[in-house]
Structure formats: C-alpha cells, structure tokens
Symmetry: D3
Subunit: 241 residues, 6 copies
C-alpha cells in the first residue's frame, strides 16, 4: 500500500526525517511518500501558522497525482485534519491522535512532551476534540523551538527527558508521547532515561494507517466528513478522491 505522509511545514529536511521515521516501522510492501507543503511557515508554532498549514496540506494532498491508500498529517497538535477527511475517502490519520490512542494501550495515562509552551494549548484542544483527552495526564513543553530540535539534538534529548521525568513523577503519567513531528530519533534515548514506553506520533500513525487500510475501512461520509457541496470557490483548486 502507499501512504502519503504530509509534513505541516515547508522545511524539506524535516519532511525527509519524518518519512525516514515512517519507513523505519512500515510493513513490507508499504510505500511511504513524504509531502512538503508549497506554502506556509518553515515551522509551525502557533495558530496562525497552523491554520495556514491546514490548507497548505490539503492543497498538497489533493494535487498529488498518484494513487494512495491513506494520508498521515505529520504535525503535532495542528489544525486541518477534519478538512482532509472531507476531501478524501481514504483514512486520514493525525499523528496527535495516533500517538494518544496508541499510548492508551500501554498505560492508564500518558503525557505529551512538546516544543514551546505556546504549543501546549493547541495540543490540548486537539486532544479534547478527538475525544482522547480523558487519560492525558499533562502536556508539557521542553521550551525548545521546532528547529532547535534539529540543530542541537543532544540538548533536545536532555530537555525532553527532563520534562518526561516530571510527567511520570509529578503528573503520574505512565507513557510518554513525543509531541512533535521531528522527534522520532530521540525516542530510544528518552526510553532509556525515563523507563516508560515512549510513543512517536509519526511511527504510531503508520501502524494505525496500515491497520485501517488492511481492515478495508474508510472515512464515514454521513455527516461531519461528507464531501464538500459543489460550489464556487475562489483561489484554491480542489480535486478530491
């Protein structure tokens, strides 16, 4: 099967890292296609940038020419998933949701460790709307920006592991979710430092998407995610499947 993995920001190196993390866990015969939006922010760290990413991802996905079986939106706590679900019938998996529902199989509660403090409310809101917030012990920020994760991985590991430790001890989390698209490679180190299972959203999303496809399941079209009604739209071309 073929899965499109859409980065939410315009940094190609991050798309490459995300696709690589996805391929590392993909089943034999699963092809991972990384997509980088044609417009938007080099990194998403707030609502304005996230809303822009929402349509940039929709734009990129609907412009994709080939066949595909599922789409992963690879931004943590970003807007837009419901829009993709309207435009497509194939399963759409947001890494925010995939990481949370995966973590809930491993422990009674989970915490998310993300980048900047300002990302925390966005993540909380997405988890609430997804109906996956009840068992969320906390969403904590490492204080590092998205791009700093790439520029100084060692510092990132230390900062993330420190917050993960606080989540386990203070917030009583039993599983840690890495709340950012670019954190996969830090995973093993955090596991060693914290002693609890650590879930990376992109990799969790690959497993979820493969499962949905193998089960032959598609997006419900009866109400919330029904195809958009035919109408005049200015300044944004949509071709849908």
């Amino acid at each position: 099967m073929r899965i499109l993995v859409a980065n939410v920001n315009t940094t190609q190196t991050m798309t490459d890292g995300i696709a690589e993390a996805a391929r590392a866990v993909a089943a034999p015969g699963t092809e991972i296609i990384g997509l980088t939006p044609d417009f938007g922010a080099e990194s998403c760290e707030g609502n304005f940038e996230s809303y822009l990413a929402a349509i940039a991802v929709m734009d990129k996905v609907v412009k994709y020419e080939g066949q595909y079986d599922a789409v992963i939106q690879a931004g943590y706590g970003e807007h837009g998933r419901e829009g993709l679900q309207e435009l497509l019938t194939v399963p759409v998996v947001d890494i925010t949701d995939a990481a949370a529902s995966t973590a809930m199989y491993l422990g009674r509660s989970y915490s998310v460790v993300t980048t900047l403090d300002r990302a925390v409310p966005l993540i909380e809101d997405r988890l609430i709307l997804a109906g996956l917030h009840d068992r969320c012990a906390s969403v904590r920020s490492s204080g590092l920006g998205v791009l700093e994760l790439e520029s100084d991985p060692e510092r990132a590991i230390q900062a993330i592991a420190a917050e993960a430790q606080r989540a386990v001890e203070i917030d009583r989390a039993e599983v840690i979710v890495l709340g950012c698209g670019g954190m996969a490679e830090l995973k093993q180190r955090v596991v060693e430092l914290c002693g609890v299972p650590v879930v990376d959203g992109v990799q969790a999303a690959v497993a979820v998407a493969e499962g949905l496809v193998r089960l032959g399941l598609t997006t419900s079209k009866v109400r919330t995610y029904a195809q958009p009604r035919p109408k005049r739209i200015t300044g944004f071309g949509t071709r849908t499947r």
Copy 2:
C-alpha cells in the same frame, strides 16, 4: 470607535447584510466596516471551506490599511479565531462565542439553530473549545443551505422557527441562538413564533466588542495568543498590529 466585521465567505451581498445588522445595534460613534475575503467559498458549509475562510479572513484583516479597535469574525462555528487573536492585540470576537455568552445571561440553557446538518458538529466543537458548551441544550439544523436563507426568507423563517420550537419543548432550551451569519433579519419573526429571547450572533458580537473596547481590554499575549515568532513564511504576507 471602528469595528471590522469580517464575513467568512466571498458573497458580497452577505457581507452587506451582516454590516447592516451590525450597524442596526451599534452605539452612536461606532463605525462598522464590512470585509469580504479575497478568496474562499461563496458560502462556508464544512471544514474544508471553513479552514480556507480562516486564513482568508486573517489575510483580509491584516491587509486592512486603516486603524480599528476590534474585529468581529462573522461566521457561525467557523475556524480561525485563535489565529486572528495571535496576529492582533485589539479584541477579536467570534459571533459563535458572542451569541452563546449573551444567551447565557437570559436563560439557564440555550439552543443553536443553524443551517445544514453538517454544520452542527463544527458548532459544537467551537462551543466546547470556547468553554461555552455546558449550558448548550442542543444545536439543531433547519436543513437549509446558507444561500437558501437569502433566496427564500419566508421558508427559512418557518424552518428555523420549527426547530427553535423543538429546542424549547424537547431540549428544554430557554433561549434561541441563530447559528448563521445571515439570519439577523429573521430574528423578530422567530421571537414572535417561539416566545423566548432570540440572539443574533453578529448583533451580540457588536455589543460585546464595544464593551471590551470601552473597558480598554486587549488580548492576552502571555501564551496561547502571543504574537507569532519571526520566521520565514512562504505564500502568505502578514503585517500585524
């Protein structure tokens, strides 16, 4: 003071109707400026169109040259408010929130009567995130599309009044909120037919915005709505105040 009232769709006649409804309740000395997005759907009836509207409204507002004291986002249950709050320091009032919090002063519970069934989940999600859902008795749909409201007002009144009546009798609503940007002129008729207070979002938002401005209050910038960080953004020009 000057208040920008941003329509979420590209239909100019609807912008005119919204601005007119706003002016009908504006205090002496309040100037209402109607804005129509430069791109997007002729009417917003789903997530894809709403996400598109989110950035179209941000685009239009940040491009506005003059001074202004507050911004009203005049779409019911639409995405985008948090983005505007990041980009601006003046108060941003979404008509979804304004109508709900106004209704809560008049009765113990309120119901929203909107257009299509597919709009119901969007409205519920916005009210949940705004923290205004606890006293929401129900969100009901009249089954009419946004544009049908304009083309056949009498039929619209009957359909909306019928749902409002069900909300009062079955869902135990004590106040009705008109869940669409273009419903203001139907208000009086629905009041007569249902015998409960009826709140129009645009008009409620004008009163709220005027109040916030007169109290000298502005958007908090400590976390969720902090100014976006300076970074490279492709394909969308932002000038913020």
Copy 3:
C-alpha cells in the same frame, strides 16, 4: 438608560466605591444607581451571609420605586441571581458571570483572585452553575478580608498581585479576574505588576448590561426564571416588574 447596581452587603462606603467604578466605564447617557441592602452583613464572606444577602438584594431591588433597564448584583460568588431573574424581566447581570465571560474573550483561560480562602468554594460553585468554569484555571485567595481591602489598599495590591502572578505562572492563567466587589481601583496596579489583562467584575457587568439593554434582550420566562406563582408569602413583600 438606568442600571441598578446592588451591593450585597450593608457597608455604604462599599456601595459608593462600586457605583463609582461603574460610572467610570458607563456609556454616556447611562445612569448608575447604587443600592445598599436594608439588612444583612457588613461584608459577605460565606454562605450564611451570602444567602442573607440574596434576599436582602431582592428586597431592596423590588422596593425600588423608579424605572430601570437592568440590574447588576455586585457581589463576587454570591447567591441570589436566579431569584432576581424570576422577579424581574429586565436583564440581571451577576459580576461573577460578567467577569468570567469577559475574561474568556481575552485569553484561553482565566483565574479569579478573591479575598478569603473560604470564598473560593462559593465562587467555584457559582461558575460551575453558570456554565463558565471550563476555562477557569483557578480561584485563588489573597487571604485578606473584604474590609481589609479598603483599610489597607497597598497591602491588598501586593497580596493580590502575588496571587495573580502565581495564577499566570503555575495555573497557566492568561487573564486575571478580580474576585470581589471592591477591587476596581486596584486594577491598574495589578495590570502593571502582572502583564496580563485584568478584569473587574463591576465594570465588566456594566458593559454587559448596557449591551443587553441596547440589544433589546430580556430574561427568558419559559421555565427556570418564570415569574413566581401567586401564593401566600409571609414576612417578605414582593412587588415585581
């Protein structure tokens, strides 16, 4: 228009301070009438005193001879609002609710800073019943009694600002609500010390009440706030409008 602002306790100087704070933000043409109950506690700091205030305020308001367009109950976290709503058709605005719903337009979450620790549960209960608690980050107490706020304003400012700071840093509040009828004059100082918007309940209530009146909205009479049924009542005279 004329707005009655009812103090919940029998201290005339506090009524004067409340009315002054209200006039400071009232629109041109709005007349503010301060009312002091004829019986009850010199300051309300608990349920017994608050229940007494509830009927003392109803008693004072229904005995008021003149015309008026709205009533503000100027006690933070006090009982009684629903009773006034039954007795009147004009809008009734409790400063507890007005401050909370106003704060919710300015940030994603708010904290209330009140007087004594024992007032915290009353405030939390009122916010829960009003459906305005979801976005409440915390209710904190300065440890000062209501009358101490008046006797030693400088100490009050320091104590309130300190709690406000904790609310912003620890509880992640983005807006501060001053949880007491007599705090309006401290507002500006707290803003300077905390760097977040600060909302005073009395002033917020004036803006809300003016808005409701200008929108021509009145209390719903279909169920919860229906006029009391005619019956024999001993020891309390009610004349209602």
Copy 4:
C-alpha cells in the same frame, strides 16, 4: 438522639406529614422534631421562594432552644444547606442529597420525579453541586404543584407513576427518587406500579442522619463550612452551636 426536621415552607400540615414520614422509619430512641419556618412561602416552587426558605430555615433552626444531634432540611432541590452547615457543627442532611446517594446504592442510575417543570433546574443544580449528578438519569416533573399533591393524592400517584415509568423505560433509570418533601405516603403505590425501588428523601435523610450521628461524625470546619466570622449583622439574629 434528637433530629430536627425543617420544612422549607410555612404550611404546618406539610410539616406534620414530613415529621410523620420521618418517625415511620426512625430507629428506636430517635426523636423527630418538625420545624415550620416563621416566614416564607406556603410552598416553595422557585428560586425566590427557595432563597427565602433558606434563611427562614436557618432562622428557625438557630432559634431552637433545645439540644439536638442532627438537622434535616426537608425541601427537595432547595437552597440553603451550606448556610446551615456553617452555622452548626452537628450533621446537616438535605433530602435532595440523601435520596440521591441512597438511590445510588440500589441501582446504576436513578431518576427524580418532582412537581412542577420549573423545579427541575433547581434540583439538577443542587445535584451537580453535591457531586451526585453523574448517575442521575433524569429529573422529570409530574406537572402538579406542591399543594396539589396533598389535595388530590390519587391524581398525584397516577401522574408520578407515569413519569417514573418513562424514566425507567426511556431514561434507563433503575431507581426512582420522589423529588418533593410531601411524597412519602405515595411511595408504596409507585413501587407497585413501577417495579423498581422508590426512595423518599425524608426517610432516606433520617437513616443517613442517624448513621452520621452514630458514627460520631460532624461537619468539617476547615474551609467551606467554617463558622461565620464575627461581624455586624443587621436584621437577622444568629445564635449558633
């Protein structure tokens, strides 16, 4: 032991009925003293009347000369319990709470059948604040006023049984709570008609109060129900124990 059972309204015959119902289940050695307020409404059917009853009950209880071990507030869904808890150290049991927590031992969910529709919101609010609403399937009204229950018992039984039946079948209630102070004598008939356990609040409250007294438990005075602070109070004499 001696238990004061305070009626919330001024109808002596209802006090007698309540006291009789209490005595019917009281343990040997338990003395039941019925109290009728010196002022207020002949029947409580709304917030104004309920707030008045709140202080009328406090007034009557604190004026009681003799010793007593517990107080029962015998009004369903009425204000005031927290005030009594401040003024007294002996246990205070509201029949609203006693009926609900008793019902929760007998089935997974319960419904309350009360008098007028306007009483429903008051009951829901009290159950929410008491933390006993999670397992409440519904609060239904028979449409009969409090005094009609006495004047036409047979009609009352039919109306209450009909609502109880709907609660079991439609709302999935497994236990029925009689939501009024004067319903005890209807209990057996409703049990026969509905086939589920039926709980009368006054009788449940007697059992709860006796249990608390025998366990030697008293009201916590650390915060919410601490003794009122000494202060000048006008127009209401309080002597507390």
Copy 5:
C-alpha cells in the same frame, strides 16, 4: 438484622479486625458476620489480586448458609461489587462507596489516603464508576503495604497522617477517607493530628447498610443488576438469593 462483612483477602486476622470495627458502630440488634474468602491473595494490592478477590467474595457469600439482610464488601477500591449485586437482592455496600458518600455529607470535598501508590488508580476508577468522584480532591498513598499497616501501626499512623495533612493543605480536602479495610483503629489518631473528620469505610458501610435495611430497600433488578440468566457454568457453583 444480620450483615455479612466480606474481607477481600485471605488473611483471617484482617477479617477479625474488620468485623470488630464493624461491631464497634453497629446498632443494638445488628449481628456482624465476618467472612474470609476460601481462595485468593493474603492481601489485595492490584488488579489481578482484586479480580481474584471479586469471585472469591461472591463464592464465599453465595455459599453462606444462613439468612442475612445486607452484605458489605470490605476492600477499598476492589472489583466485584456489581457481581454481588446481580447475585443478591439484599443491599450490597462497598466500603469504597460508603466512605465517599458519607464524607460528602461532612465537607465539600474529600481525599482518600490509601496504602501503595499502585492502589490509587483502582480507587479512582471505582469512584468514577460509582458516580462519587466529582467531590474527590485526591487519592493519596502512604507507601505502606496492607500487611505493614498491621505489623507497624505507629509508623502507619505517621505516614497516613502526613498524607492526610497534605490532602487538606495542598488538595483542599475537607474530609479524609481511610482507603483500606484495615485502618479503622488508626482513625482517632488521624483525627487528632489533622483536625478534620476522618471516615473509615467499614464503619461507614455498616451505617449505610443498616439504613438501607431499615428503609426496606433492595437492589433494583430491572437491568444492570438483574439476576444472571440460567446457563451452563463450569467450575464455579452459584446458589443465589
């Protein structure tokens, strides 16, 4: 009346202590019968042991030959209550629920102090399902195992009192619940050290059970707790009443 008090573990000395605590508060004429399961763990400290206890208690109770009027399941936060309710018509009272609902009459919020950290989630889950969690301020663990409570009572008192103190000061609890079957004798000491009411589950359950029996109430059989359907069951003999 006769009440069966079923210990959840196989330690006879603990059964004896529980029965003694029960008898200390039982009304004249109430006979307390302590039951020890025929299989299971010497102490229950987790889900596996608790599930085993669930059927061990059912097994022991249904095998009991004599008459009885109520059953108390004397394990804090253990599984099984719903099963007993299906098998019996007499009231079944779990000490987890009895302690919580009793505490809620004494203060606005309560905290549970239990044994090991791993017991905390079980207790929280039981309280959530019982609909008694809303007013739970926290569940704290003393870090001592069930058997350590017996072997070193003085150390247990200190550890429990220390957590109780934190619950009152940090979590704002107003009442403390002793979250273990074997803590009754520590109660008085903790009261002295903490200055708030302290509720022992076993003793609270005796008062609740006595009350339910005196009120003539039995378990609802309409749905959740209906008698098991007749069917072939292997390896577990059930005789039910």
Copy 6:
C-alpha cells in the same frame, strides 16, 4: 508474530469463529492462537459471568506454554484487561477499546450495537474507564442473547442493522461498532444496510496488536500495571512473563 486471542466464555465454537475472524485480517506471518477458558459461563452476559471470565482468561493465558507477542481479550465490555496487563509485559488489547479507538478514526462519533440490554451498562463503564467514551454516541442493544447470534444469524443481522440505523439517525453516530465477540461475519451485511463504516472488535484488535508489536511497544510497568508483588496466593496458580 504470534497473537493469543482469548475468548471470554467456554463455548469452543465461538472461539473458533473469533480465531477465524482474526485470521481473516491478520498480516502475513501473524499466527493467531485461539484460547478457550477452562471454566466460566458458556456465554458472558453480566457482571458475575464477566468477573468469572476475567480470571478464567488470566488463568488460561498464564498457563499457555509457548511464546507469544500480544494478547487479545475477545469479549465486548468484559472485566479483566487490567489484570492481564499486570501479569504480562507484551501488549494486551481488549476488543472493546480496539473497536472504539478504530471507529474514532473514521467518524466524529460512533455507536456500539450489542446483544442484551443488560450488557449496555458494562460496555459504557469499560469505555469510560478506557477514556474512549467522549465520542460514543450511544450503546444500543439488539435484544438477542450471545448464543442466539449463532443460532439465527439472519434474524441477528436484521435486529442489529435496525439498531445501527437508529444510532445513525437518532443518536447521530457516524460509525457503528459491533459490540460482541461473535459478530464479525455479520459485518458486511450491516455495512450494506446502514451505509456507514462498521467496525468489528476482534479484527480491529488484531490490527492494533500487530501495530503495537511492530512498533516494539510494551505495557508500562511504573504504576497501574506493575507486576503483582510476590505474596502467598491460594487457589490460583500464576506463572507470568
């Protein structure tokens, strides 16, 4: 990999059907081992039978001699999952949870259609504890017993499809979950009749379990699911991995 699929009841033909449904979706290289408990009910339809199944499943699994990578508990709304999670380190997937979290990827809300009315509360409780209830529109029963599903499949399909239809139209479900271990073969028919995605718990659980294993994730052992403490256990032999 090898996955153990444990039936909760003692009917071998049902185990065979479950294993067959699991194999139909298992990835190449996944071996499915069906387990039938050595004791318990021929079908689980209530709490007593479910508690018995809980330990019967644990007993059967821990007695299993070979290697395995994950365990699926194939009973809908049954007790016991947390016990297995304590005893094992490999992932444990309950079909109740797997079906719900899978459904949540396909639509905004889902409904469960189960067998008997008495199973509804058990399912609701499990979903609440799993933190997967927020987006549950309803749990409906077909009125058919577990064994009737096998004896009269055509009647089962009609009854289930009818409830599914009501869930979509009345409860606004967008996805249907088949709430029973033996319903897999009915799935396609219900899809055709209802026009929304239909999720079978066993098949969803296989995909989830395969994903968790491929991601190398195991159960967190820091608190809730820590290995049982070494202690004397009577009448139940546990060997754990």
